[in-house]
Point group: C2
Chain length 129, copies 2
DNA sequence: TGTGGGGCTTCCCATTATGGGAAGGTCAAG
DNA sequence: CTTGACCTTCCCATAATGGGAAGCCCCACA
């Protein structure tokens, strides 16, 4: 099947499929006319990638997960470690953002928010600290 | 003062100061020898930028905040709106990440994590859904 | 058989914010 | 005068995605 069909079936844009091929995540078989050719297993791979990306796994992790996925002798511990490391990264970033949001919310609470210039938010950003 | 000094005083790398100048966030005065020249107020501006970036304000927001900071007739409501919009964005992303982390944690909990191949994490990523 | 439209190809550029590194000019101290 | 630290600009890289152009290909329809 052509790339457009694979894109529709997998939910990944043709643009991205080409990109993933460049990164070596999906096969790059070609027909005589130069068109890329895909089969059901390629679509399955693309869907796997889509699901992994939906969980925000970086493509480097996706590469490792694909390798483990295709390895009949894999140890589930390897998958688990990649996943838990990623969870830790996600939670770290989420907490950092939540902390910034809280700081700002606190500042905004003390900002009258009318047409006068006084503003603790700007005061805070101005601080020499 | 030279860019290196301003970098030390502001906590922003020389590289980034040049970048901010290119974006029009800081002044670009030059000495006769072509060196950039900074004063105390420039350092204050750079510090303002650093504090805003520490709260993850995108540079476009920083540009607006700098304009408001320098406007004696600003309305604090304008600052407040920028801040609260940013808070909403931060919280949205944080929640999305937290949700992904929770899903993954749930999957990992049911993954024995030994040297056997069975792995609900990969099963989930493989799903046709 | 010719043609039009849609799909495919590659290549370049943009995003957001940051940094590395090279090649070359400048300044100050020894 | 030399040396080393500093400055300049320019190019490249990161992560993931997308837009768009130029050009080739294929099928269906008149």
């Amino acid at each position: 099947m052509n790339i457009g069909t694979a894109a529709r079936l997998s939910g990944i844009s043709a643009k991205m499929i080409r990109h993933y091929e460049e990164l070596g995540l999906v096969a790059g078989r070609r027909l005589l006319n130069g068109y890329r050719d895909y089969g059901e297993s390629d679509v399955a791979t693309l869907r796997f990638i889509r699901h992994a990306r939906a969980l925000a796994f970086p493509l480097e992790d996706v590469r490792k997960l694909l390798a483990l996925w295709g390895d009949r002798n894999r140890a589930s511990a390897d998958v688990r470690r990649i996943a838990l490391d990623h969870v830790a990264a996600l939670e770290g970033k989420a907490q950092a953002m939540q902390a910034m949001a809280s700081s700002l919310r606190h500042l905004a609470k003390h900002c009258c928010g009318d047409d006068r210039p006084d503003c603790p938010i700007l005061d805070e950003l101005e601080k020499t600290l």
